[in-house]
Amino acid sequence: MSKLLSTEFYKICRKFVTILIITIAFSVTGAFVSMSATGTVYAGMNMIFCMFGLVFCGMTGLFISQDFVNNTIRNKLIIGHTRFHIYLSYQIVFAVLAFLMTAVFIGIYILSGKLFSGVEVFQEGQPTPDELKIYRENFFKALPVYLVAVPALTTLGVFISMTLKNSLGGVVTVITAYTLNSLPLLDVISPENKLFAFINTVLPSSQIYLMEKFSAESDFSPLKYILISIAFAVIMFMLGYAIFRKADLK
């Protein structure tokens, strides 16, 4: 297992600069969007937060599908690595990377807020000190949800790419991520629909949108959403491994 982990981490490290640039680009853009719209970086998690999580999901699928395209996954099986260890190593590597990059994203996002402190606010007036206090409190309360939701989304990328086992894995993951990005709109179109509400509650990507909705509420509790993200990740892992365990590889 440690051999697989070190190999996968090494592979990721080769792409680290690209991943870091993507992360910085998203966080700076997110800060600019938030500052220009609300005058503060703490007024909820805007669409850039969700997009960042989904980009990570897509990236996971693209990375893993390369192992199937090049057939390099064979090299692991032939020398005796078990399918469980192979699946788990992918999952650990991408979840850890997602967690670290999310932390970097948030750090740069907050710092960038200071950079853009002078940008024109499209919303009428700056938030009051009381509003700002609630925003800030809720933002930091929502951070653990975000730090869990993004790694949880990588389980979807691993699931799709390990199930399809070819170049389609990467493409389908990206398409799925794009589709998920638009699902929170269902809630806007039809706020009374219970099914839409349920879908948006259980999907980690939609939960990030919910964090924006709750940013002004004083009794917001993040624990429920963290647990849902963990449950989502566990179900995706179990389902993905169950399929991969019996799959015929070329």
Partner: protein, 304 residues
């Protein structure tokens, strides 16, 4: 005899298609086992099962005495290297980096030996050239080098000379022979190019329609393919007595047929047999090579 691999009635079905239908094969330790079969006969499917890429529908196999259903099979597989169909390489990495990746997967403590491996397969001068720019032969040799990481005792090569130029074929052949003789590596090699296989193999397994039709050693095959006169007579006991008298080697096949491994004076032989009241019913020259032997065995044309 010690066997590296033994399969027992191995079956693999894809819905209604039976890719393997009760394959039982035995690969002795230290052998170069030539695995011969038409396209679609089941060669690659069997190799995939052994490598753990697929699971058998029924039957089992033993690798170094460990059953495939046993958890310890992972340990046995770590003693194995394989190139299945196309070489599995990272196209954006150099030959050296590809080997380093395999070393990491194997948990090797250092990268010592990579230079030697590259030299062994003739890729020591590829420098910073990425694998995606390699020729097919170079990729094939890189695939073999990856399979050789960790000093395996058992090497599986699926069609290793496919697409290689004549020089490449010679190089791969010499490499396989060198590995077998100098490092005592047991090799399972599947190939369509029977003439090439006959220059390497010490044992053969012939597969057709998912079944092993025959397993034999190179000596047995040589014996079967030996140039001879196939004779049908009324009594082979008399024939044997006459041939002994003429000091000619032969093999009695049954009461009426025998193979005679020389060209005797047929008039003298016929006369001697006639004196003993033995009639010659037919005589035909028998001259087979691996290709014709295989065609006769599976009863069809060889598909290249």
């Amino acid at each position: 005899m010690d066997y590296v691999l033994k399969t027992n009635a191995l079956c693999k079905h894809y819905r209604h298609f039976k890719a393997l239908n009760g394959v039982s094969m035995h690969i002795p330790k230290g052998a170069i086992y030539g695995f011969v079969g038409k396209n679609g006969a089941g060669k690659t499917t069997l190799i995939r099962l052994i490598c753990g890429l697929q699971y058998p529908t029924s039957g089992d196999f033993e690798l170094y005495g460990v059953k495939n259903t046993d958890k310890a099979i992972s340990g046995s597989r770590s003693r194995m290297g394989a190139v299945v169909e196309t070489p599995s390489v990272y196209p954006n990495m150099t030959a050296e980096d590809n080997l380093k990746m395999q070393y990491r997967l194997l948990g090797m403590p250092s990268f010592d030996g990579i230079r030697e491996l590259l030299k062994l397969v003739g890729l020591e001068n590829t420098g910073k050239k990425k694998a995606k720019h390699f020729s097919l032969g170079m990729k094939q040799r890189l695939g073999i080098a990856i399979a050789l990481c960790g000093n395996p005792d058992f090497l599986i090569l699926d069609e290793p000379i496919n697409g290689l130029d004549p020089q490449g074929i010679i190089e791969v052949r010499e490499l396989i022979l060198k590995l077998n003789r100098e490092r005592q590596i047991t090799v399972l090699i599947s190939s369509h190019i029977l003439d090439e296989l006959s220059k390497l193999a010490t044992h053969y397994g012939f597969i057709d329609s998912g079944r092993i039709v025959k397993e034999m050693s190179a000596e047995e095959l040589e014996q079967a393919c030996r140039k001879c006169i196939h004779m049908t007579v009324t009594d082979t006991k008399i024939l044997a007595r006459v041939l002994d008298g003429m000091e000619i080697t032969y093999k009695i096949l049954d009461e009426k047929t025998a193979d005679v491994y020389a060209k005797p004076n047929f008039s003298q032989l016929a006369l001697a047999l006639s004196k003993e009241n033995c009639e010659v019913i037919s005589m035909e020259e028998h001259d087979e090579n691996l290709e014709t032997f295989f065609v006769n065995l599976v009863g069809g044309a060889v598909h290249e």
